[in-house]
Amino acid sequence: MYEGVVQDLIDELGRLPGVGPKGAQRIAFHLLAADPTDVRRLAEALVEVTVKVKFCKTCFNVSSEDHCRICRDPRRDPSVLCLVEEYKDVVAIERTREFRGRYHVLGGAISPIDGIGPEQLHIRELMVRLADGAVTEVILATDPNLEGEATATYLTRMLKPLGLRVTRLASGLPVGGDLEYADEVTLGRAFAGRRSADD
C-alpha cells in the first residue's frame, strides 16, 4: 500500500478495462517519473472528454457538438442510412472508405436474456428519422452474431412496410482464412451468397 494520492491514482487506474493491480502500479509510477507537462496534458484530455463529448442528436454517434461530423457533412448521401450497434462500428465502417451515406447508432442489440428489448434501443428515434421520406435505402450493419441477426430480423419487419430498400451486410469467409476451419453456418452463408465469377 502506498500513501494517499499515489494509492488513489493506482486504485483509479486499476478500474480501467484490461488494467490489473500490477499494471496500475506500473502506469502510476511511469506518470510520477514523466514530464509534468505531459501528465497535465493527459489530465486535461480526461477532463475535456467528460465535459465536451456528447451524443449526436440525430444519429447517436459520439460528437463534440449537437450534431456529429458525419451528420453535418453536406457531401454525405442523405438517402442511404447505415444502422450499427455501437459508435465503434461507425469508425470501423468509416475506415473502409466504401460508404458515403449516413449512420444511425442503435446503442446495442436485442438480447432478451440481458433484459434488452427493442424499447431500450434507438429504434423509435429511427422511425421518426425515416418519416420524412428522404432515406430510400437502409443498410443493416448489426454484428453477424445471434443477437445482431435477431435485431436485423426485427428491424426488417419494422422497415419493410415503409417501402424502403432494406439490405443486410454480406457474411461469409474472412479474407486470409482457411476454408477447412470455417464453421458450418459461415460456410453455408458463403455458399448462399455466392456470386457469379464473371461479374
Binding site: I113, E149, T153, V185, T186
Partner: protein, 268 residues
C-alpha cells in the same frame, strides 16, 4: 491440464477481456458448465458461430483452476442458424435457455434429463411444425416437472381427490378442490386447465384443437405458466417479457435453414 469431452448446448455468453468470451453451457455428462473460449470475438476466429447461443456442439475442454477452457468444438445441430432470422423463435428460445440455466443450479452436476429436454425443445422450435409459444409453454412446464415442481392438473394438489377442479394455486402446486381451496387461488376456464395439461403431456393434437377453438384459454394458460415458473424460480426471468407471441402460419425454421444451405448440384 486434463482434457475431457462432452456434448453441450450454449446457453449464454459473456464478454471477457479483449477478444474472449465466457460460455455458459448445459452439457450431457457434466451438467451446467462455464468455460472460456479464447479469441472467439475476432472475425478470423476459428470458432465462428459454433459457440453462439443455441448451438448444439461436441466439445473438448481443458480443466483449469477456476474456469475450464474450450479447446475444440464441432457443431452437432446449428439451432442458432435459423433462430436469428425468426424473431418469434429467437425470443421464445431465449426464455428456454434462461430457464435451463436457472433450473440447473449446480455447476458440473449431471442433469441429463434437462439436457435432453432442452435439445428436444429446440428441435421442436426449429422444426416449425408447432407454434413457438406452444413449444415454449410446454418446455417450461416439463422442465419444471424434471426439476421436481410438476404441477397437477387433474388431482387436487391438497387432498388428491380426482377432478376436474376449478381452482389453481402456484404455491399449492396445481389445481385445488373446493374444500382445499386457499385464498388467492385463480379460477381459470376449464379449457385453460385442459390446455396446460395437454402442454405438459405433449398432446399436440389437443393443444392445436384448443388454441383454435378457445384462443382465450391459450392466453390464460400462458399467463398461468409464466406466473407458476416465476413463483418457483423466486425471481422472474429477464427474457420472458420480450416473447413475441403473435399467432402465425407455420413458417418452419427448418425450411429457412434449407434456404440458407441450398443444395448445389454437382454439375454446377
Amino acid at each position: 491440464m486434463p482434457l475431457y469431452r462432452d456434448e453441450a448446448v450454449v446457453l449464454r455468453t459473456h464478454k471477457l477481456g479483449e477478444a474472449d468470451r465466457i460460455i455458459t453451457l448445459l452439457s450431457r455428462r457434466h451438467g451446467r458448465l462455464r468455460a472460456v473460449a479464447r479469441g472467439v470475438r475476432r472475425t478470423t476466429s476459428r470458432w465462428g458461430s459454433r459457440l453462439e447461443p443455441f448451438a448444439h456442439v461436441d466439445l473438448q475442454l481443458a480443466e483449469g483452476r477456476s474456469l475450464d477452457t474450450i479447446t475444440q468444438a464441432e457443431t452437432l445441430t446449428p439451432f442458432g442458424a435459423g433462430m436469428g432470422g425468426d424473431y418469434q423463435c429467437y425470443t421464445a428460445g431465449t426464455v428456454m435457455l434462461e430457464t435451463a440455466e436457472r433450473l440447473v443450479t449446480e455447476d458440473k452436476e449431471p442433469a441429463v434429463q434437462q439436457f435432453l429436454l432442452l435439445v428436444g425443445g429446440l428441435r421442436a422450435m426449429t422444426g416449425g411444425e408447432r407454434q413457438p409459444g406452444h413449444v415454449l409453454d410446454s418446455y417450461l412446464l416439463r422442465s419444471l416437472a424434471v426439476a421436481g415442481y410438476a404441477p397437477t392438473f387433474l388431482h387436487c394438489a391438497g387432498c388428491g381427490l380426482e377432478g376436474p377442479h376449478r381452482y389453481f394455486n402456484h404455491a399449492a402446486g396445481g389445481v385445488l378442490c373446493v374444500t382445499c381451496r386457499v385464498p388467492g387461488s385463480a379460477s381459470p376456464a376449464p379449457a385453460t386447465i385442459l390446455m396446460m395439461s395437454a402442454l405438459l403431456t405433449g398432446d399436440w393434437n389437443e393443444v392445436e384443437r384448443l388454441s383454435t377453438t378457445e384462443p382465450r384459454a391459450e392466453r390464460e394458460a400462458t399467463g398461468i405458466v409464466s406466473a407458476y415458473l416465476s413463483w418457483h424460480l423466486e425471481r422472474g426471468l429477464r427474457s420472458l417479457p420480450y416473447v413475441d407471441r403473435a399467432r402465425r402460419e407455420a413458417t418452419p425454421v427448418g425450411a429457412l435453414l434449407e434456404d440458407r444451405f441450398p443444395v448445389i448440384p454437382a454439375d454446377g
